[in-house]
């Protein structure tokens, strides 16, 4: 959006940052991102509430991975047994009981791979450039809230962030 401005709010505590996020929710403003020197539950909950993300999409990838893994495990065990046709102790060539272990492990493996890869994919990782508005102190002792707003709303949002406890609010061109 041309003419937009980014406001970077700096907060001393995660409580204040989460409070500012809630205020944005009521504004209502959705286009923002936060920085935190540690994983803060308070900020995560506030952001989750505002964005109404609900359930993570990662679960669908885990399910697909698990099903794929189980089928792969079954095909691998039964297929190789039939291919080599080895008779072990007079048991059936394709004996399901011991294959359950391999099928189960393959299901877990593919499920985990699905979870990890979808997590990176959905999070947009890896990201080699810092996000706009980033300050090194957001990785040390301060919390950041970056909001992209139209020219007309700048004063309103700046006041809102200061009311929530921002130590400083910096304007940057978006």
């Amino acid at each position: 959006m041309s003419g937009d401005i980014e406001l970077v709010g700096v907060f001393a505590t995660d409580d204040q940052c989460a409070h500012a996020v809630e205020k944005l929710h009521h504004a209502p403003i959705r286009g923002f991102h936060t920085f935190s020197p540690f994983p803060s539950e308070k900020i995560a909950e506030a952001v989750d509430e505002v964005r109404e993300w609900g359930r993570s999409p990662v679960r669908k990838f885990v399910l697909c991975g698990g099903i794929t893994g189980a089928i792969s495990g079954l095909v691998l065990t039964v297929g190789t047994s039939w291919e080599w046709n080895l008779n072990t102790g007079g048991r059936p060539i394709a004996s399901i009981a011991p294959y359950i272990v391999i099928i189960f492990e393959m299901m877990i493996l593919f499920g985990v791979l699905g979870a990890v890869s979808s997590f990176f994919f959905k999070s947009g990782l890896p990201s080699f450039e810092p996000s706009s508005g980033y300050r090194t102190r957001f990785g040390a002792d301060r919390f950041g809230l970056v909001v992209r707003v139209a020219d007309g709303d700048v004063a309103k949002i700046e006041t809102l962030m200061r009311e929530a406890g921002a130590e400083e609010v910096v304007r940057e061109a978006a």
Binding site: G89, R91, A97, P98, V101
Partner: protein
């Protein structure tokens, strides 16, 4: 300070009457069964029921100990009182254990046909077996009595209601809870070998004892969940069990320990399958693949694992009282069925003796169990109402 606990006015008289009638049915069934020349059916069922109901009562105390060991304070005092509400059946089970002694010739095949293996024969002789098992049972009863007493002290109750602190439980509990948990595992392993596995003295499985006490523990979790659901309906609208979170937690316990049970079951099965040694496989083959036991045998994993796993996977079913209660009830039926299938085919491989004798004796044990549980349930009802008052 917690509010003073007033007894909750429920229709306890009705429950006591039902329990009394069930006991009468059980006494009549036992008497008629013995008089009618069916002593083996009577005493085998007696053993099945004793192990089932005694197991729930004892595992409840072990579950309370586990709560203390994990510092579980997710429902105030309620989950402690819930787990401990059945313990009064333990002193009665000491008395009922004499029934196993009376019927020993019909239960233990090695009494009339001693085993050839000399080492095994030293372990499997009636005086030694009954002495050690009775002493173990008496020890567990005294330990449970002491533990439940300490768990109800004011100091313990105050600790229950401080979930935000990192305080450890009171010192007497810290000392006794590990003893209860470890003793439970040892004694129920002993019972598994002495009172179940020894009925097929040629058979052995090193995992059987562990597997059995895990099964018993799960049956207690089901009994707790079923009781919670019934209490929720019977108590005033606002009580601890009307909170979805409490039912959710109980549902998670059913789900988790059901998966653990299946894990142990499969671990035991796969070793026997791989070894393919006749002295190990005969125990499973007769039960899993031969008529008339096949259906009852496969019913057990369906009720203990398939049903809870498939039904309770989501959050909503765990929080829905009717669903949780039904799964818990089916789970208890599954464990009773499992006990029956473990014990009876060892002496009756070709016949399925399941009729009015078995049902009436089971009804009698159920009545005695309910009778013993009433005082504990009264306390539970009071706590379930007063704790929720204290929280608001």
């Amino acid at each position: 300070m917690r509010p003073i606990r007033e007894p909750v006015q429920l229709n306890w008289g009705r429950l006591t009457t039902i329990a009394t009638v069930l006991v009468a049915v059980g006494v009549a069934g036992t008497g008629v069964g013995l008089a009618g020349g069916q002593p083996q059916r009577v005493w085998l069922t007696w053993l099945v029921d004793l192990l089932f109901f005694m197991g729930i009562a004892q595992a409840g105390v072990a579950c309370s100990a586990a709560f203390y060991l994990t510092q579980a304070r997710w429902a105030g005092s309620v989950h402690y009182r819930l787990a401990e509400s059945f313990w009064r059946f333990l002193p009665l089970s000491l008395v009922l254990f004499f029934g196993v002694y009376v019927g020993r010739d019909y239960i233990f095949p090695w009494i009339t046909h001693p085993v050839a293996n000399k080492v095994k024969a030293q372990w499997l002789n009636a005086p030694f077996l009954f002495t050690r098992d009775f002493l173990a049972l008496a020890f567990m009863t005294l330990l449970s009595w002491r533990f439940v007493g300490i768990s109800r002290t004011e100091e313990a109750v105050i600790w229950h209601h401080q979930p935000d602190t990192i305080e450890m439980p009171p010192k007497p509990i810290r000392r006794l809870a590990p003893v209860v948990a470890i003793s439970y595992c040892i004694v129920y392993t002993l019972f598994a070998y002495d009172l179940i596995s020894s009925l097929s003295p040629q058979w052995h499985s090193t995992l059987f004892g562990w597997w059995y006490f895990a099964t018993v523990f799960w049956s207690c979790v089901c009994a707790m969940s079923f009781t919670a659901v019934r209490m929720r309906a019977a108590l005033p609208v606002v009580n601890m069990f009307s909170r979805g979170q409490v039912l959710h937690d109980l549902g998670k316990m059913i789900f988790a320990f059901s998966v653990f049970w299946m894990y142990l079951t499969f671990a035991q099965y796969i070793v026997i399958w791989y070894g393919d040694i006749p002295t190990e496989t005969f125990f499973l083959v007769g039960r899993c693949w031969h008529h008339p036991w096949m259906l009852l045998t496969w019913m057990a994993p369906v009720l203990i694992w398939v049903t809870p796993f498939s039904v309770l996977m989501g959050v909503k079913p765990k929080k829905t009282p009717k669903i949780l209660g039904t799964v818990a009830l089916l789970g208890m039926i599954g464990v009773w069925d499992l006990n029956y299938v473990l014990i009876v085919p060892s002496l009756s491989p070709d016949k399925l003796p399941l009729g009015w004798i078995e049902l009436s004796i089971t009804a009698g044990f159920l009545g005695a169990f309910l009778f013993c549980a009433v005082p504990g349930l009264k306390q539970l009802a009071a706590v379930a109402v007063s704790d929720v008052d204290g929280d608001e």
